[in-house]
């Protein structure tokens, strides 16, 4: 288990929960689609949850419920123990507490300068100008962009930079729960690593709860405490990274790409070599295999 994961899971007060949440698109027509069904999960204060699932498994639909953009056909969403739909006039404040950054957020930039665009959320919160400026400066730092970007036009940036500005726009609201839908989609390996690094360090600095939607097991395994696996509108697994990867074969049946190293371990097991199946980093595999290698560690290193 990852360092720190125990701490987070021990301190188990749920901040965001769903109760039997179901959502049906185009209800009442002959083309009804049940996007999520009976989803009941508890997201704990301060943890980083990776949400994975094949295309169309309902991940995006689920997170749109977290900040009240969609209202479940049935079921409830609780934030800090109270139903987010209980008081309609508080919906906007829910959106400030649960910051959601959608897939391809770079297409929502609209202001003349990066700083103004990042300030859009904080301004809507009605913060003072000083506070807004502080948050814009902080957010730029969180996403690893230098202050010289503040006065540039967001339309003159590269795709990856735009993406980071858009994420900064959500971070600047300093939400209690930060939800990111595929923040790495369409980025090269280096860009992906940067974004993941950025999210991890933001969380370390602010201690906020993070939900990270992704297609890639490798990305999620590296930084998540727990993984929520969606399969055809249902929750398939919701457990620690180790526990989820111990179901590697079922995951593959759901069409998920488990990390390469885990695949390797699985095929070793098929060949009759007794190695654990719940490995997902090269280091772990190295530790597990070393005793078996003749000639000691010199060769393997």
């Amino acid at each position: 288990m990852k360092k720190g994961t125990e701490d987070v899971l021990l301190n188990n007060t749920p901040i965001l929960s769903t109760e039997d949440l179901t959502y049906i698109y185009q209800k009442g027509t002959n083309s009804e689609v049940t996007a999520i069904q009976d989803v009941s999960v508890d997201i704990l204060q301060g943890e980083l949850v990776g949400i994975i699932g094949h295309t169309g498994s309902g991940k995006s639909t689920l997170i749109e419920h977290f900040n009240a953009l969609k209202k479940g056909t049935s079921g409830r969403v609780l934030l800090d123990g109270s139903d987010i739909w209980a008081d309609k006039s508080k919906i906007r404040s829910v959106r400030f507490r649960v910051g959601v950054c959608f897939q391809y957020p770079e297409y929502q930039l609209f202001e003349e300068t990066v700083a103004k665009d990042i300030a859009f959320g904080p301004k809507n919160m009605g913060l003072s100008e000083e506070e807004v400026n502080r948050r814009v400066t902080d957010a730029l730092t969180y996403v690893g962009l230098s202050q010289s970007y503040a006065e540039k036009s967001p339309f003159d940036l590269s795709g990856g930079e735009k993406r980071r500005v858009a994420i900064a726009g959500i971070m600047a609201m300093e939400p209690q729960v930060l939800v990111l839908d595929e923040p790495c989609a369409g980025l090269d390996p280096k860009g992906r690593a940067t974004v993941l690094q950025m999210i991890a360090s933001y969380r370390a600095k602010t201690g906020c709860t993070v939900l990270l939607v992704s297609h890639s097991m490798e990305d999620v395994a590296a930084i998540a405490d727990r993984i929520l696996v969606m399969n055809r509108a249902h929750v398939a697994f919701f457990d620690t990274v180790d526990a989820v990867f111990s179901h590697a074969e079922e995951l593959q049946e759901m069409g998920l790409d488990i990390p390469r190293i885990t695949q390797l371990m699985l095929s070793l097991r098929e060949k009759g070599i007794d190695v654990p199946a719940n490995l997902y980093t090269v280091q772990q595999a190295y530790d597990a295999l070393r005793p078996r290698l003749k000639g000691g560690s010199r060769h393997a290193q």
Binding site: E64, V100, F120, G121, N124
Partner: protein, 271 residues
């Protein structure tokens, strides 16, 4: 909601009307509009009403679809009816107060106009429900091709129309996506006075235009890469052919035209 817009919405079904040549459907729709304006009394209007009803039945498009397309113009129908009731002063007076009086003539004119508008809307929706938008623009292109003589590039116009129709659903989806993203940042579209609401649209409109232009560029590059160079010498994958059904339908419409002319002569004109 935005998704209620029915422009260019095709309703998939197996029917004679669906199978008809788009050019003929287009011609017949125009013919219908002409005939219905020729109608001078309730007898000739009845002919067109029956024709509308029969076309709808034959098309196998459920009636609720027509009701859906009628809904947005109910206010217009009501306003025209009201104007007719109060302005037309013919026949016997039914009631009067202050400067306003309602006559039998006013009532029947109002009814006449309402039926006429309803038939018009139904028949034009029938055209879009039973014809795929690309076929429709294709038909327009061919029917207008004589204009090429005047150096008007009908093909370009038709291509623009096809593309516009194709991108309506895409843009609607895009609007919903951007709206959601800005709402997630606390944008408020529901409250405030008129001017504030218009201002609140800016964070949606700018990204929408940016992405519409991006799409347009990408599309034009893609078309250029496939050697698109306009209509000259371009052949078609789907050839249009007139069949017996098309001529039969034309026959029915011409008969109705004859009926309307005759009935207009025999009975007193209403309007």
């Amino acid at each position: 909601m935005l998704s209620d817009i029915t422009i260019g919405q095709y309703y998939k079904a197996q029917s004679v009307v669906h199978r008809m040549d788009a050019r003929m459907k287009l011609i017949l729709t125009v013919l219908f509009i002409v005939i219905i304006f020729l109608c001078k009394n309730f007898f000739s209007l009845a002919v067109m009403f029956v024709l509308t009803a029969v076309s709808i039945l034959v098309s196998r498009v459920p009636f609720r679809m027509f009701f859906k397309s009628l809904k947005p113009i109910i206010p217009i129908i009501l306003i025209t009816a009201a104007l007719n009731i109060f302005y037309v002063k013919k026949g016997t007076e039914l009631l009067s107060f202050w400067k306003i009086s309602v006559t039998t003539g006013g009532l029947s004119t109002a009814f006449f106009m309402a039926v006429r508008i309803i038939c018009l809307i139904m028949v034009s929706s029938l055209l879009t429900y039973t014809t795929v938008p690309t076929q429709l623009t294709d038909a327009i292109e061919r029917l207008l091709s004589p204009l090429n003589v005047l150096h008007i590039s009908v093909h370009t116009l038709a291509m623009m129309m096809t593309l516009a129709l194709r991108f309506i659903p895409t843009l609607i989806e895009e609007i919903e996506r951007i709206t959601n993203a800005q709402k997630a940042r606390g944008a408020d579209f529901e409250s405030g006075r008129f001017l504030e609401r218009v201002k609140a649209m800016i964070p949606v409109l700018i990204p929408l235009f940016v992405s519409a232009f991006r799409r347009a560029y990408e599309l034009s590059f893609a078309m250029t890469c496939r050697c698109y160079h306009g209509g000259e010498g371009r052949t078609r994958m789907k050839q249009m052919k007139l069949s017996a059904v098309d001529f039969a339908a034309l026959g029915v419409f011409l008969l109705s035209l004859a009926g309307v002319i005759v009935l207009n002569r025999f009975f007193q004109a209403m309007i």
